[in-house]
Symmetry: C2
Subunit: 428 residues, 2 copies
């Protein structure tokens, strides 16, 4: 008998039918003899609807009250899920973030978990109940106020519960079958991975893969939680995300003795590129520029500085950032143009980023050569390059991204023989 | 400077515009120098929608989970109201039932308040904040579970807060201007009362008047809370509900030195009549019948037993009960027909009940004569009569009820010179 934590996103509990399907799944796990703790998101678009209501009454909603408001979404879904299970003849009890002992700091809207004290959950488990916990929410011990964890909060709730309860596995359910070598909506021949290392998962998630949230994967890695990313629509095994020294419960059939060099290809169309042109090539200018950008609240990703043209003593600095952050960054930079002394600003929101991730890059040479050759053979121009220990990212024209991803996916031998089935919708 | 508790029902906070109107009202009270604590219901039809969702997933929702579900409705409205006030430049903080210290027994769906420990509310008030509390909900200290108070719960929340905080007045806002001598939708010439005694209010509420809930009035009476029933749509004074020895803050102009004999006329179309015909006229039969009816869960109101016809040794027993309870009561009685030995059952759901309420009945004779004369002059047949110390109720044909009420209202001299304005909607 194992202790299994399961997380279901908003699309998995969007209506009465979906809730019944999820309830059946939970009951099946219980019937198999396991203890079950479930973290659940708000139904479908509830959170967006509540946000809209908030903005209807207050231009900038008070953060404490916004958290109070948003946390009601998971109360609804968790109570409905618990009563559904109850009506199937199983004991189920729902708990809010505070009842579950999900203690956070006081940063409303993006609170971080500081402690998990699941006393009531343990009691309920000891009494044979299935435990349902509101994802995405916690409470602060000092202010005694409700908090929310921000994007991907329910994944983090599930992983944190798994860590605190020392669960055998944390199953994160979504509308896809697991982690793929690429987004199946972009590359139909993407292959489901049986397992992936958490460091590779983090790089993929940071570079556009959307199945798991970085924060949850980080938390799992730090606390030794085994994540199993799988589909609500299928009973097939998904993908195990393995931290250092971890092993998947069952090795997959015909598994190679060595890890593949490349785990996957991630694509990202959410970024824009800003070029600060004609920057005086003197020490400290980059620092000046990125201090201004940081102060505007923008989250810079890739940075490339061209070699200075000796004749002018000036250089260009390009960087990428989320499209939504671009206008405030440009405004901030433009306001300081004379102080910094650059010549002009260029804004490009038609870029795409392609990343190849693989732990094998550490020990294998020639991994980047395959990427560059494949893109060159496809006639695709590279605009920026950046690398980490286990990743190579390139910025391309956004219109080239899908084609580039297919080419590169093939070049690394990742193509599956069959096309993946893609379901609609995404969770929170 | 006073401490004022205000209660706003679901129709008062049905959408963003209504919430803004209520927020303005609260802020105006604060601007006038008062401390304000607000109890708020769920927005518009939220509770019904949540109930429907519950019944979509579970035929008989688990009571603990149903309370968890329903309590989310007030979280939404209170957070929205608090952020609206906040955006108007005033400090406002919302509190759930448990945060507000609303401690109840563990009867889910109809919990009773056992204690109110508003420590956090006092802190917030001391810090100058406007306090918003979720109506209708509390929590049980032993199970640490969320409970709901049942019908009229938000009124009770407001009164209980007023009692615990020793507030100067508890203002119950709704879509009508106060307590009327009759339902203005039935009798357009109904007159708003400036004040009414709580015992009269209880009789009116128990007999069909819908502005205030019995439970809240009882709680106010027991704890010496002054209720002021008034309209969300007007700044005019409403009706003060006075317990023993209480006085309205401002006596109304030209107020008589003595109370009027009759305070109001209540009408009720929600009841049905069951007649158990041909009951053997031997001791214990009535007890037998009403034990069966009680076991079926029905709430009996009026009971009338005819004089036995000496020739047959049999009698008829008629009683009224809520229409919704009638079919289960009939089923239960039919199952025991041979044991009880009655001849047959008659069911009549076309009745109407008219009640005249007035504390002056205690000291004035001839009050009932006015009623009977007025009905007789109108050619209206009386089917059942029952009385209490300060009330006379008669059962009539439902189709006669409105006309009867108008006639009786006039006969007691209650008609106003102008017709009342009636707003749509009702609160919880």
């Amino acid at each position: 008998m194992a202790l299994i934590v399961q997380k279901y996103g908003g699309s998995s509990v969007a209506d009465a039918e979906s809730i019944k399907r999820v309830a059946k799944r939970i009951v099946d796990t219980r019937r198999a003899g396991h203890d079950v703790v479930v973290a659940v998101s708000a139904m479908g678009d509830t959170t967006d609807e509540l946000l809209e209501l908030a903005h209807d009454v207050a231009p900038i909603p008070a953060p404490r009250e916004l958290d109070m408001l948003l946390s009601s979404g998971e109360r609804i879904s968790m109570a409905l899920l618990a009563m559904t299970i109850h009506s199937m003849g199983f004991e189920a009890r729902s708990f809010t973030g505070s009842q579950a002992g999900m203690i956070t700091d006081s940063h409303h809207g993006k609170a971080r978990i500081v402690d998990v004290t699941p006393v009531r959950l343990r009691e309920a488990l000891d009494e044979g109940a299935i435990v349902i916990v509101a994802g995405f929410q916690g409470f602060n011990r000092d202010t005694r106020d409700i908090t929310t964890l921000g994007r991907g909060g329910s994944d983090t709730t599930a992983v944190a519960l798994a860590a605190a309860l020392n669960a055998d596995v944390c199953e994160i359910y979504s509308d896809v079958d697991g982690i793929f070598t690429a987004d199946p909506r972009v590359i139909p021949r993407a292959r489901k991975l049986d397992r992936i290392s958490s460091e590779e998962m983090l790089e993929l998630a940071a570079n556009g893969a959307k199945v798991l949230y970085i924060r949850a994967v980080e938390y799992a890695r730090r606390h030794g939680v085994l994540i199993h990313a799988r589909s609500t629509f299928s009973s097939a095994e998904g993908t195990y995300v393995l931290g250092e020294g971890m092993q998947a419960p069952r090795p997959s059939e015909g598994e190679a003795m060595e890890e593949p060099i490349v785990a996957g290809v991630a694509t990202d169309l959410s970024q824009a590129k800003i070029t600060v042109a004609g920057v005086p090539d003197v020490p400290g200018k980059a620092a000046e520029i990125f201090k201004i950008v940081a102060k505007s609240g923008a989250n810079v990703d890739m940075i490339v500085q061209n070699v200075s043209a000796a004749s002018t003593g000036r250089t260009d600095i390009s960087f990428t950032l989320p499209k939504a952050d671009a206008s405030s960054a440009i405004k901030a930079l433009a306001a300081e143009q004379s102080d910094v002394g650059f010549e002009n600003l260029l804004h490009d929101d038609q870029i795409g980023k392609l990343s190849v991730v693989g732990a094998g890059m550490r020990t294998h040479s020639g991994v980047s050569a395959i990427l560059f050759e494949a893109l060159s053979a496809g006639g695709i121009n590279i605009e920026m390059i950046s690398t980490s220990e286990i990743r190579i990212s390139v910025v391309l024209r956004g219109s080239d991204l899908a084609e580039a991803a297919r080419t590169v996916h093939s070049a690394y031998g990742l193509d599956s023989e069959i096309e993946a089935i893609v379901h609609a919708g995404t969770g929170r």
